[in-house]
């Protein structure tokens, strides 16, 4: 059974189909790199997987259950374009709040552990607005990993991060993978993504045109997949 699967998902914005029957399956423990140009529908697909938006047609399932189920959402960690933390709460308060909303059993311990992991323990009572850009990003990463999600959905996670945050994120992702978590991430930083990815999916104009295991060709030459699909006209 797939950890998370999109089955023939269509999404219309008005009359415009941003997704045209996208089908994607991520087996448990996989790390899927979702590639595609701007406007291909990566963000739209990830938002639908994260239940932030409803598919117009098709269905999303998480471990075989409908993703509309509220309990299922607790298994998902989502990191979007925004950092998703409150500027007027301290780092610790932010994590406590999200722990409570995510139904984490021992919120305080989880928050402490998450701060430890991203190296923010010393500034746990500092307000997010006082943090530097990199610290804010690490806090966002801590927030997304707080409830040890079984499925991680990351929308261009490496794009706006600074070096230290990238290192932290890499480590956390590897750690999560070794614990059996499933990851779907969209990305432009192909080289970084390929190191982690076990699977690669290419989204073009709202359709998954390629989906399969990552090959060594891709690792050596990040542009390989794009070129392959540009050559043949659709």
């Amino acid at each position: 059974m797939s950890a998370i699967a999109a089955d023939g998902v269509w999404k219309y914005f008005g009359d415009y189909p941003a997704l045209r029957g996208a089908t994607l399956e991520a087996p448990p423990g996989a790390c899927v790199a979702l590639l595609g140009r701007n406007g291909a529908g990566k963000t739209t697909l990830l938002r639908i997987l994260a239940n932030l938006s409803r598919p117009s047609k098709g269905e999303v399932t998480v471990f075989g259950e409908s993703a509309r189920d509220e309990k299922v959402r607790a298994k998902i960690g989502y990191l979007g374009h925004g950092i998703g933390v409150y500027d007027d709460l301290s780092a610790y308060e932010n994590l406590i709040l999200f722990g409570q909303l995510m139904n984490v059993p021992d919120t305080k311990a989880a928050a402490e552990a998450a701060l430890e992991r991203v190296g923010l323990t010393r500034v746990r009572d500092g307000f997010a607005r006082e943090f530097s850009r990199g610290m804010r990003q690490r806090l966002a990463v801590a927030r997304a990993f707080l409830h040890n999600p079984e499925i991680l959905l990351l929308d261009e996670p490496f794009t706006s991060l600074d070096d230290r945050a990238i290192a932290v994120l890499h480590e956390l992702l590897r750690d999560a993978l070794s614990k059996g978590a499933t990851i779907v991430m969209s990305t432009h930083q192909i080289r970084e993504a390929m190191e982690l990815a076990t699977q690669v999916a290419l989204l073009e104009r709202g359709k998954i045109v390629h989906s399969g295991p990552r090959t060594d060709e891709m690792l050596g030459d990040p542009g390989w997949l794009y070129r392959k699909y540009e050559e043949k006209p659709k």
Partner: protein, 225 residues
């Protein structure tokens, strides 16, 4: 259900905590209410008895103007850093996010109202102490109506251009039945002549019940696109 209510309380506490730290909406709203109160005393140069006849109406005008500033902030608070996405992706249902925001706005607006009521009485020589408790009951009922519709429209206008202007345009016409009822009851309470207020009270209660049910039911469509 229980979890949903609990999550609503978490959201309300978060909103109140951030608001008390920055006091953005609260300061603006209280000072706005005070300015309006002072302006009223210039706008209406009336004798004491005549002023009593319009006292309830003016009071609710102050409250509803102040309320616009409070509910406007409600969902806009979530816009920086895309926090709304994280809340919607969490396991809590959309209605409990909405309910939490309504509770927070309700508390804030009640604070503004309770601050401006004595000032209003002082400036305009209105006796409000005798009828305080029934008046408080009315304020709770009518403020709930103002905040639940206001926060619903705040959710609606969060992605709209010119949202600060759009919100009152949508919200005020909708509030008219509620305000008519509340103004009549307030005037009667402040004047101290009982009369039959049951029809007005029923209006306020029906408004609350109907829009609470409608918005809690429909909010899912708005928040999860």
């Amino acid at each position: 259900m229980k979890q949903g209510l609990l999550s609503a309380l978490f959201i309300a506490r978060k909103d109140l905590r951030t608001e008390f730290r920055t006091k953005e909406a609260l300061n603006a709203s209280v000072s706005f209410a005070l300015v309006v109160l002072v302006l009223f005393s210039f706008a209406f140069d009336l004798g004491r008895d005549e002023f009593y006849d319009i006292s309830g109406g003016l009071l609710w005008l102050v409250y509803v103007f102040a309320g616009a500033l409070i509910v406007n902030r409600s969902f806009i608070r979530e816009v920086p850093n895309d926090c709304l996405d994280v809340l919607i992706a969490s396991p809590m249902p959309a209605w409990s996010l909405f309910l939490g925001k309504v509770i927070a706005s309700f508390v804030l607006l009640m604070i503004v109202e309770l601050v401006s009521l004595p000032v209003y009485g002082l400036l305009n020589n209105i006796h409000w102490v005798d009828s305080f408790w029934p008046h408080l009951g009315l304020m709770i009922l009518a403020t709930w109506g103002i905040t639940i519709t206001g926060v619903a429209f705040s959710a609606v206008t969060v992605n709209v251009r010119l949202r600060e202007l759009m919100l009152p345009v949508l919200h005020y016409p909708m509030l008219i039945p509620l305000l008519i009822g509340a103004m009549q009851i307030s005037t009667a309470l402040l004047k101290g002549d009982g009369g039959d207020l049951s029809a007005d009270l029923r209006l306020v209660v029906v408004f609350d019940a109907m829009f609470s049910a409608l918005s809690l039911y429909l909010i899912e469509f708005i928040l999860v696109g």
